[in-house]
Symmetry: C2
């Protein structure tokens, strides 16, 4: 598998673009994005488990009931959530896209992100649609990625190649997500494209299995958004024999999917609101995968530990504390904890108790911008990885006055 | 019921005190406290549900197995948790206290709070014990409250009177707690004293029932500590006929207990690490009490909403979002949300959708230091209250470098 450039436009037969249509007052920031496949594609999506769901979620769920889509439209600056006319507006976005691109409106994926509870006017979207259509092109992935960003500071884009049925296939993705990141079964906004031929039911299975180990193991602030969605369109333009069952080709597809999604998870966690460090918690020796996952996620979710990491403080007691309330079935007297970065690694806790260690050495390791917390539970052979970030002044600043 | 001064020394037959013995380097801060009853008292405690438990928790559990205690010793500056010799040290604290006060060491409640995973030397405690005993007196509640504080900025003390069996009884308490506050069945360090005669099993029931609605509904940062404990000693010196069953006297006792514990909850939440505002979420119209509790607690735990409250931003979308992922069974299309403070109240969401409101007016209300969030679910008649605080720069500052 090889990483390539091009994001969602890397797979054959996909075009994308993004423009500023006027939902945001800031004229520099693009706020409307479009991804189009030249032919109808197998498509699937997973959605937020929040009971309060953005209106576009309901419309997309209906549109994807047949497992087919051909385009995805997304605005930033307004979540179109908790609005009385929300679904009407979201459907209108599909109709406008379909009219402009000569597609069936029921083949459109629609998404919105931004402030909750403010009516979304269709006007700027309707007015901006011709410019958006004109902007769409085979190199437009970056512009599309920009158009879906909110408090993100970095563009999130990735693509890989893989082989199925002897044909080179490509899978690419863009994502937004910086705050309100604590997905449960689905997460954030992630648009994935692929040119492999794969049956809708196999695509659905691959995506559903994948998010459990990737987006569902990522947390910035413990808040599960109302508008989370990960969607994928796979259009078959690569010319491989359609993947209709498990086997070598399906495995190659899943491997490529995991490479793209786990890369996006790291990008999202590292760009968590206010974050200065990417935190990766790797748990080994768990009794079951469920226990390992609970343990890993509890550590990256602990406000106290996240603040300690901001301060480059090797406060491993907070790791033990987070393991203890995680709900995982673990023997707390058997836990080892090691901190690691490019500067080296240092074991700070063995058998659940303190080890003498050099605070100076630990500080040097923790001052890096990517920190791994390695936890061994000595209780079995299950493992899990979770991604998070530190808790900083800027998280508070960003969220203390988000709306104004 | 009347509030009175005196804290844990308000009930008859109790003395208390606190000194600096040298566990903390800061010589101004007291770090060792003692509460003594002149006679053996009915006693009960509830403990942290964290799998990683402080060593004093195990020793106290054993000592309270018979429902009797006569003193409580507590140090700050070191949690005596994740230490190989922890239980030995905690038991030594009981023995030293017993020797000094001429008591049975099995009648001592022991507790520790501070950094996890650093060995606790018995030396400063042994050396400080005579001075501590000399400092104990009938007006020493404040000194005892000071001795158990860590990052607390305010002393937490309360006492009330009530009548049982025609006798005036008194119930008082002190507490510490500012960070790592997200109790599950028990919480923080709270020492309660009472001079009513009450059978151990009734005391146990009263305390266990009470914490579910008070400390378990309080959260500062979502981290459940390893050393949480709420304990009570009731010594019978008031001379009432012993409370041995439910009835009028038991109800009066429970009412006094609830007044003291809910007051301490408000004090703890308001003094949350870095907090500038007390956040009280009152949910009404829930389908069940469980649903109302899940809803209320989810709102006071949302990092995003807490940051918005720091910024006095009426971002009610984050309230809806937190309700949506709370796990409560609610109809999100029926939710009303009102913000209230001494400056008035303003309804910002009705039937799950936005209401036009004056941002200026909302800001004025939210700039006060005690904010109520009133949520009506229109789904039944269950209600619940939860206490929390805002998320501020200072929370990050305090926890970014706690150990140094």
């Amino acid at each position: 598998m090889e990483h390539i450039s091009g994001g969602v436009c890397a797979p054959k037969g996909f075009k994308a673009g993004g423009v500023h249509c006027g939902i945001r007052k800031n004229r520099v920031k693009r706020d409307l994005s479009l991804i189009i496949s030249e032919v109808p594609a197998s498509a699937s999506a997973v959605y937020t488990q929040n009971l309060v769901k953005g209106a576009p979620i309901y419309v997309t769920q209906r549109n994807l009931a047949d497992g087919i889509a051909q385009a995805a439209i997304c605005n930033s600056g307004n979540a179109n959530t908790c609005n009385a006319d929300g679904e009407e507006i979201a459907w209108k976005m599909c109709e406008l896209t379909a009219a402009q691109a000569n597609l069936d409106p029921r083949n459109i994926i629609v998404a919105s992100t931004g402030v909750i509870g403010q009516p979304l006017s269709i006007e700027p979207i309707a007015n901006g649609m011709p410019a958006l259509m004109a902007a769409v092109n085979g190199n437009g992935s970056q512009e599309a990625a920009e158009g879906i960003m909110t408090t993100d500071t970095r563009l999130k884009e990735v693509a890989v190649t893989f082989t199925a049925g002897g044909k080179e296939c490509r899978l690419g993705g863009i994502a937004k997500g910086s705050g309100m990141i604590h997905p449960n079964l689905a997460t954030m906004l992630v648009f994935l494209t692929c040119d492999a031929a794969i049956a809708p039911q196999m695509l659905k299975k691959a995506l559903a299995d994948n998010v459990k180990d990737t987006f569902n193991m990522t947390s910035v602030d413990g808040d599960t958004s109302t508008n989370d969605m990960v969607c994928i369109m796979s259009n078959g333009v690569a010319g491989n024999a359609e993947i209709t069952a498990e086997g070598t080709d399906y495995d190659a597809f899943c491997e490529a999917l995991n490479e793209v999604t786990s890369t996006l998870c790291r990008m999202i966690a590292k760009d968590g609101e206010g974050a200065t460090r990417l935190l990766t918690c790797i748990v080994k020796g768990g009794k079951t995968v469920k226990d390992a996952k609970l343990a890993a996620k509890s550590v990256v979710c602990s406000s106290l530990f996240k603040a300690a990491i901001f301060g480059a403080d090797a406060n491993w007691g907070r790791v033990l504390c987070a393991l203890g309330y995680s709900g995982a079935d673990i023997d707390v007297k058997a836990v080892d904890v090691t901190f690691r970065s490019v500067k080296g690694e240092i074991t700070v806790c063995q058998n659940g108790a303190s080890l003498p260690f050099s605070e100076e050495n630990a500080k040097e390791i923790l001052l890096e911008d990517e920190i791994d917390v390695l936890i061994t539970l000595h209780d079995g052979d299950a493992s899990a990885t979770a991604w998070g970030c530190d808790l900083t002044y800027d998280y508070v600043k960003i969220n203390g006055d988000y709306r104004t």
